[in-house]
């Protein structure tokens, strides 16, 4: 097994907990704002690790740029959407969860 393959494998395996955390957060967190939080943080890191892992396997700069672009787009879209949804939720009178 090549070193690059090893690193890819490791990175991919590392990305998994983030996706799982995102999903679990979405499911288990008590209110909208918490879910928003879980989703954006964990998920983007997860995708970032996947992209990193695939970049190691890439054989040309073009591919690396495409992967990076995809990741950045998801990042920006995710952040903006999270912001918009939170703002809308606040305007519409969602109450944050309190213990």
């Amino acid at each position: 097994m090549l070193l690059s393959d090893l690193i890819t494998t490791l990175l991919l395996i590392c990305s998994l907990p983030f996706f799982l955390a995102g999903t679990l957060g979405l499911l288990r967190f008590p209110d909208l704002y918490c879910r928003l939080h879980a989703l954006t943080k964990a998920d983007n890191l997860g995708l970032g690790l996947v992209v990193l892992a695939l970049m190691i396997q890439a054989d040309s700069w073009q591919v690396v740029i495409r992967l990076l672009l995809t990741w950045l787009l998801v990042l920006v879209a995710g952040a903006t959407v999270a912001h918009l949804i939170a703002r809308k939720a606040q305007q519409d009178g969602h109450q944050p969860w309190r213990r």
Partner: protein, 327 residues
């Protein structure tokens, strides 16, 4: 079992489950969100089946147009089954038809088909060979594009007609109303749009350009562009009034019109509609794709807006697809 097969199995189970849930759902918003998820997973299925062209189209439509279309429609319709009138009592035949159709016909048809369809797994391999043999003279290096714009271009011509016809139908039904409120566009949203719009145009151009050699083409590119236009409308751009008359109509009709003209010209020239001269085939296909992309983008965006531009040009402009997303 190998992981690929498990992946397929899980994907299909989720798809069928989603279809069931969304069709049985009492809450319509939930149904629409489930349908958006269905579109996402359908794109994965097309990828698994080795049809990236279709996956591209599904991605561009499913993520952009369909979601917006359904959400706007849902907003305008409301999600309850209400009706002011009492329903007419069912006639005997209507009473009979529901259980017969739903209880007997549909299950039996699906069962017969399911039992028979497995025979098909191994038979005839399709037309790859034939198409590859003619690919050199088709003017396109990609099989699907060659089929769409040369071998079966007649279908595509009529399909472009269906698109234009759908728009005329929508225009005949209603006048456009503003899709969104103008106020409170957050700066983050504007920033997102300013970042995304140029990228959408670049990627759409890329998808169109590579359709000659690889998956991609006019429809995928047009659908992507129309999602871009939609985004522009979402952040408050609108088509200037002086563009809402003939120029908008020209833009909408040019894809179908040019295709028709080429069909007529080839019919006059060679006696066969859409028989491109061999040395011109590549350029003609490119021309058709370019105008078709512009038209499809405008048509789909206008379909989401859902109505003809106001006849009376003195009233404040209702929203119409923005050209700002296109330049």
């Amino acid at each position: 079992m190998e992981p690929a097969l498990i992946f397929d199995l899980v994907l299909l189970l989720i798809l069928i489950g989603l279809a069931w849930l969304l069709l049985a759902s009492t809450d319509l918003f939930r149904a629409v969100v489930l349908f958006i998820a269905f579109g996402l997973l359908l794109a994965l299925a097309w990828v698994r089946l080795g049809a990236p062209d279709v996956a591209l189209a599904e991605a561009a439509i499913g993520a952009g147009i369909t979601g917006a279309l359904l959400l706007v429609g849902l907003g305008r319709l409301g999600s309850t089954e209400r009706c002011r009138f009492s329903r007419a009592p069912l006639t005997f035949l209507q009473r009979l038809s529901a259980p017969v159709l739903v209880g007997v016909m549909i299950p039996s048809i699906s069962l017969i088909l399911l039992l028979e369809v497995h025979q098909l797994a191994g038979t005839t391999p399709g037309r790859q060979g034939l198409i590859n043999a003619f690919l050199d003279v088709s003017g396109s290096g990609h099989g699907v594009t060659a089929v769409l714009l040369n071998f079966r271009a007649w279908d595509t011509l009529l399909e472009k007609g269906v698109l234009l016809l759908a728009l005329i139908t929508i225009w005949s039904l209603d006048q456009a109303r503003p899709l969104f409120h103008q106020e409170d566009i957050s700066p983050q949203l504007m920033g997102l749009a300013r970042l995304l719009l140029p990228l959408v145009i670049v990627v759409a151009g890329f998808v169109l350009w590579q359709g000659d050699q690889a998956p991609g083409g006019a429809f995928q590119s047009g659908a992507l562009l129309s999602a871009g236009i939609l985004l522009a409308i979402l952040v408050g751009y609108s088509l200037p009034q002086r563009w809402q008359g003939l120029s908008l109509r020209l833009l909408l009709a040019i894809g179908f019109g040019v295709f028709l003209l080429i069909a007529a010209a080839t019919l006059l020239y060679s006696g066969y509609p859409l028989q491109y001269p061999e040395h011109l085939a590549g350029s003609l296909i490119l021309l058709i794709e370019l105008v078709a992309t512009a038209s499809i983008a405008a048509l789909l965006a206008a379909a989401v807006v859902g109505g003809h531009p106001p006849d009376d040009l003195s009233t404040p402009a209702a929203k119409a697809p923005s050209t700002s997303g296109r330049r």
